[in-house]
């Protein structure tokens, strides 16, 4: 094939060079310029044989060879922004893969959900096209153009011939419909994105997403898509355009999937339904920290503590090995999993699924007492322990694990365990499984199913292995005696208890006593909390913080990040309203100011996240009670912050703030419990919008609580404030 392409190119180049030589010679005759032009003619004289010219001819021939299969795509209608990404409405690129009009493109080109798609072929012919199916794993879409035939289909480079370092030419049809645009680079790496894509340093951007990356012979190495290792949205990786890091999905590996996509079946990454421990994934063995009971792994009998050692005959030594083995797989495919349980070695053939049913956390109806640690913590700015670097690393590795639901609340491991073992019951919810089984306040839970539990985090994690509706065995101690109860788990409640007993296990010395009321053990009048300011040096904004009176007695504090409606109530007023509650419940309230007085802007999310991290790091924070609340404009920020910060945030509450329409609610993660509360006006458009947002959360499996709000501005009445406080105070329920 190349043999026919080359001679023509050479002739053209020779002619070009001949022309310039003549030009050079003529100029030589002008004596007064002779010296300078001698430079030029000298350097030109060597060109006909130069490698540069021959490379150039070969690269152009490569792009030319695929050009007839590269189409321009225009869309009509749709969104103009996705999150912070402003979508251009210019043309994008696609690649013909069948003579009768099937076209592959990048999912990014269709995030705006256009009303209509128009394709322009190399011949100039235009045709409407339909989006047939999306591959959510590789971020590709399959289009079908109507009324076309005999299209040029490109040759695909065999996967085993692709080498790092070989030429790679990226081809788009964006700037003009009659000519392709090309960028040149090399193959930088293979098997990136957990084996789904190859990497190139050729410039890739909106100018060629959806187009082919071809080798020097014009054969397709892959289809260019934006991708990022830590994120799965269609716009992920777009910020790396033209950076020297680009990805292309090899078509050879998805041939079989394309047939399914032609039937209209969307493709998803295959899910096993397991969670891994947040440890260094390159070293830690693939030991399961959690198994979703309703997942393929759960149904196949895999359990927490099992170690995966082999997938499809490939040895699995680390969490990373497991990620790479499963990364390229699709829902619907089967994998042969070998795992070890103790010294036992077992094997299962497991069919992966594309989507798991929404996860719902199991609930027994128990509100636990909170432990008081023996050592007092210093309230100063010193880090609360010497392991911060380690904690950061753990967090980083936990984030890398997000494909399988493996994140865990990062503070759980460090949570204080009660000195006496087990968890004391603070309250039993009326009508709950625990009440029906006869569990009482003051009981001490020591074991759930077969797992000994010493902390609230351990109890919640253990319950992730049980689905609502399944049987859970509780072993508890009451007045020195050990008793077993069988419960049928239900779902997390959506109503707020009307009254809560004291939260702290102060009466520990006289175990067995009835818990006393909060007012008796805490006396805000005798100790006083304090207000301080927090300013992060890199940001112009600042925060007011109220630290409750109880903050230095060794108890972990809840954290409420309060996002005001811009231009409304000042921070001092918020703190005045909350002071008493903070003192009573052991709650820090942090009230940041927006950079602009009249609005919150999305880029400020980063600031809010940093504030959150800073407070969590600086003080002893109760990992189960980290909450963000937002009013009106602040509410939109609260939603966004909670969705992006599920590794730390356990509750999001808003008032008069619908979930921004384009925001996708992520699936509920077992290890990242998030409770949702919103005030709901009695009627009107806003009420409808808020309701739609809450519906999304509810369908995704989150517990959603609503409060009927009488105040249109969203400002909470004192009784609503109390209800919100009780909601926060009961977030560690299980």
């Amino acid at each position: 094939m190349m043999a026919s392409g080359f001679p023509a190119q050479n002739v053209q180049c020779k002619m070009l060079n001949k022309k310039c030589n003549i030009v050079g010679l003529r100029i030589l005759h002008f004596a007064f310029f002779i010296l300078h032009f001698a430079f030029a003619s000298q350097s030109r004289a060597q060109e006909p044989a130069s490698l540069v010219a021959r490379e150039e001819a070969a690269l152009r021939a490569a792009a030319e060879r695929v050009a007839d299969s590269v189409v321009q795509i225009r869309t009509i209608g749709g969104l103009d922004t996705i999150g912070r990404t402003l979508l251009a409405d210019g043309p994008t690129t696609g690649l013909v893969i069948s003579a009768d009009g099937y076209i592959v493109s990048s999912a990014f080109n269709f995030v705006q959900q256009p009303a209509s798609i128009l394709v322009t072929f190399a011949s100039g012919k235009q045709a409407p096209a339909e989006l047939v199916a999306t591959d959510h794993s590789r971020m590709l879409v399959l289009l079908k153009a109507a009324g076309v035939s005999d299209l040029a289909v490109p040759e695909i480079a065999p996967a085993n011939e692709i080498r790092v370092g070989q030429w790679a030419v990226a081809v788009g049809r964006t700037f003009r419909s009659d000519r392709t645009n090309v960028t040149v680079g090399i193959v930088s790496a293979l098997d990136r994105m957990f084996g789904k894509a190859l990497q190139t340093d050729a410039d890739v951007s909106m100018a060629n997403y959806g187009g082919p990356l071809v080798d020097i012979r014009g054969r397709v190495l892959g289809v260019i898509v934006p991708m990022a290792p830590q994120a799965t949205s269609e716009v992920a990786g777009v910020e790396w355009y033209d950076s020297g890091i680009g990805f292309a999905v090899p078509l050879a590996t998805i041939g079989e999937r394309l047939e399914k996509m032609k039937q209209g079946d969307d493709q998803h990454a295959g899910i096993l339904g397991i969670g891994l421990l947040p440890k260094n994934p390159h070293v830690a063995p693939a030991e399961l920290a959690a198994v979703r009971p309703d997942s393929p792994a759960g149904k196949a009998g895999l359990r927490k503590g099992d170690r995966v050692v082999e997938i499809d005959g490939k040895p699995i030594r680390t969490q990373t090995d497991l990620r790479f083995a499963l990364g390229p797989r699709y829902g619907g495919e089967s994998v042969k999993v070998v795992f070890e349980r103790g010294s036992d070695r077992r094997q299962r053939e497991i069919a992966l699924v594309g989507e798991l049913p929404a996860f719902r956390h199991a609930f027994l109806g128990i509100l636990p007492m909170r432990p008081v640690s023996q050592t007092k913590t210093n309230r100063s700015a010193e880090p609360k322990n010497g392991n911060d670097t380690k904690a950061e690393e753990e967090k980083a590795s936990a984030e890398k694990n997000d494909g399988e639901n493996s994140k865990s609340p990062n503070a759980n491991d460090k949570e204080s365990r009660s000195g006496h073992g087990g968890i004391r019951v603070r309250m039993v919810y009326a009508g709950s499984p625990a009440e029906k089984a006869g569990v009482q306040a003051g009981d001490r839970i020591v074991r759930i199913n077969e797992t000994e539990v010493g902390s609230i985090g351990e109890a919640i994690a253990e319950l992730n292995n049980s689905a609502p509706g399944s049987e859970v065995v509780l072993q508890l101690e009451r007045a020195g005696a050990s008793m077993d109860f069988k419960l049928v788990a239900s779902r997390l409640p959506t109503n707020v208890p009307s009254e809560l007993p004291a939260a702290y296990d102060v009466g520990d010395a006289k175990a067995g006593d009835e818990p006393t009321a909060a007012a008796d053990t805490e006396s805000p009048a005798t100790t006083k909390g304090e207000i301080s300011e927090l300013k992060l040096p890199e940001f112009p904004q600042q925060c007011q913080i109220y630290m409750p009176a109880t903050h230095d007695d060794g108890r972990a504090l809840g954290l409420l990040l309060w996002l005001r409606a811009p231009g409304n109530a000042d921070a001092d007023e918020v703190i005045r309203d909350w002071q008493g509650i903070c003192d009573r419940d052991g709650l820090i309230i942090v009230v940041p100011s927006s950079a602009e007085a009249d609005r919150w802007e999305r880029p400020e999310l980063e600031y809010l996240r940093r504030v959150l991290d800073r407070v969590v790091k600086q003080y002893k924070i109760d990992a189960h009670r980290v909450v963000t609340y937002g009013e009106a404009g602040g509410g939109a920020m609260a939603w966004l912050l909670a969705i992006s910060g599920r590794d730390v945030i356990r509750g999001v509450a808003t008032s008069a703030a619908p979930l921004p329409r384009q925001i996708k609610v992520p699936p509920n993660e077992p290890m990242q419990r998030l409770a949702v509360l919103a005030t709901l006006p009695s009627a009107g458009d806003v009420a409808v919008q808020i309701g739609q947002g809450l519906q999304k959360f509810s369908e995704a499996g989150y517990p959603v609580t609503t409060l009927a709000n009488v105040n249109e501005s969203g400002k909470l009445t004192s009784s609503e404030r109390d209800e919100l406080a009780r909601w926060i105070d009961s977030l560690d329920q299980f």
Partner: protein
């Protein structure tokens, strides 16, 4: 390096300047011949090195106004005459009493403003090099390039080169030769002609006024200011082809340049409207409302042509209409008595209709 050192010596010893210069260049020729020999053995790097030595002395560093709030006080320029004419991009940097030109060998000169073209946003400066002939690009000898051609970009991007450091050289290919459709902030550029779009990171701060050459060092174009493409939303790497400004520059040097009046985009005297065609679109509610036909006025040009409610307008005179706004804008660019071709999607089918407004003015007004 040898020739540069020699030239530096020549500056210190004015009396021997001419002789020294000749010697320097003679040495350079010898060096280049050696390099050229190496390149003949198909050594790409050596041939780029030769090109660099040839091009870099013709590219200058410019210093002027700016230097605060992210506005760099420097850019690039190229020599276009032996007696000190510098071509560069018109920008705030030139908005200073005196612009300093620093040559490849470190010589510094104060340059004065000769002329500027607001359409292509180029400017010509002049400094006095004391009668000594300078290396320069002859605009009449410029080359052209096709997509896929190897190119080199020379500029002082990010102000990395100072004093006698030569400007930076980047390599890439021509990605596309296409009309410039770009904006700076909210403003569209005046120049809408073809530009070279390249895959090198050529247009960074300070690069404006640098040169794009082919792999043999022949001038292709002038690197422009940083712009975002309106089509892709990405930052563009591009150069204005020499043909876009060569004659203006010639006039500027000759002192006979009259800046063109920049008028608003040509507006028709009596713009056409959808109402005049008998078309009512669906209410325009979001930024990209798809232009579906809501109603067709009976007995209007649209009705007679066969357009129907629920047709989706996809093109007007072959221009794609991503939204209602685009459809209205495209129609209003036409004279009211002009014919227009409207392509619509109806049941998966692309249909095209030719329409011509024949409604009397008053009737159309009523429709409005």
């Amino acid at each position: 390096m040898q020739p540069e050192n020699e030239a530096h010596v020549a500056n210190l010893l004015p009396r021997f300047r001419v002789i020294a210069h000749v010697r320097a260049v003679a040495l350079a020729v010898v060096c280049l011949m050696a390099v050229a020999d190496g390149a003949r053995a198909s050594d790409g790097a050596a041939s780029f090195a030769a090109v660099a030595r040839e091009v870099q002395p013709k590219v200058v560093k410019l210093y002027g106004a700016g230097g605060f709030r992210g506005l760099e006080a420097y850019q690039s320029g190229l020599l276009i005459s032996a007696d000190g004419h510098v071509l560069t991009v018109w920008s705030y940097v030139l908005d200073a009493d005196e612009v300093t030109v620093v040559l490849d060998d470190g010589r510094r000169y104060a340059a004065r403003h000769v002329a500027a073209d607001p359409l292509t946003e180029i400017a010509v400066l002049k400094f006095d090099a004391g009668g000594e002939p300078l290396p320069y690009f002859d605009l009449s000898q410029a080359a052209t390039a096709e997509p896929g051609c190897r190119v080199l970009a020379f500029s002082n991007l990010f102000g990395i080169a100072t004093g006698n450091e030569p400007v930076s050289m980047l390599q890439g290919v021509v990605s596309s030769v296409a009309p410039l459709d770009a904006r700076r902030g909210a403003f569209a550029t005046n120049y809408r002609g073809d530009v070279y779009i390249v895959d090198a990171a050529a247009n960074n701060p300070g690069a404006a006024g640098g040169v794009l050459t082919d792999s043999q060092g022949r001038l292709l174009g002038l690197l422009g200011k940083e712009l975002r493409s309106s089509l892709t939303g990405t930052w563009l790497n591009y150069a204005l082809p020499v043909s876009a400004f060569a004659s203006s520059v010639e006039d500027m040097i000759a002192g006979r340049f009259t800046p063109p009046e920049l008028s608003e985009a040509e507006r028709p005297d009596k713009p056409l409207s959808l109402a005049r065609l008998g078309i009512v679109l669906v209410p325009d509610v979001v930024v990209r409302t798809p232009p579906y036909l809501d109603r067709i006025i009976p007995d209007s040009p649209a009705a007679r042509a066969g357009l129907r409610p629920d047709d989706l307008i996809v093109m007007i005179d072959n221009q794609v209409t991503p939204s209602c706004r685009d459809a209205v804008r495209l129609i209003e660019r036409l004279e009211s008595d002009a014919g227009v071709r409207i392509a619509v999607l109806r049941d998966e089918e692309l249909l095209e209709f030719a329409l011509k407004s024949d409604l009397p003015e008053s009737a159309a007004e009523e429709e409005k």
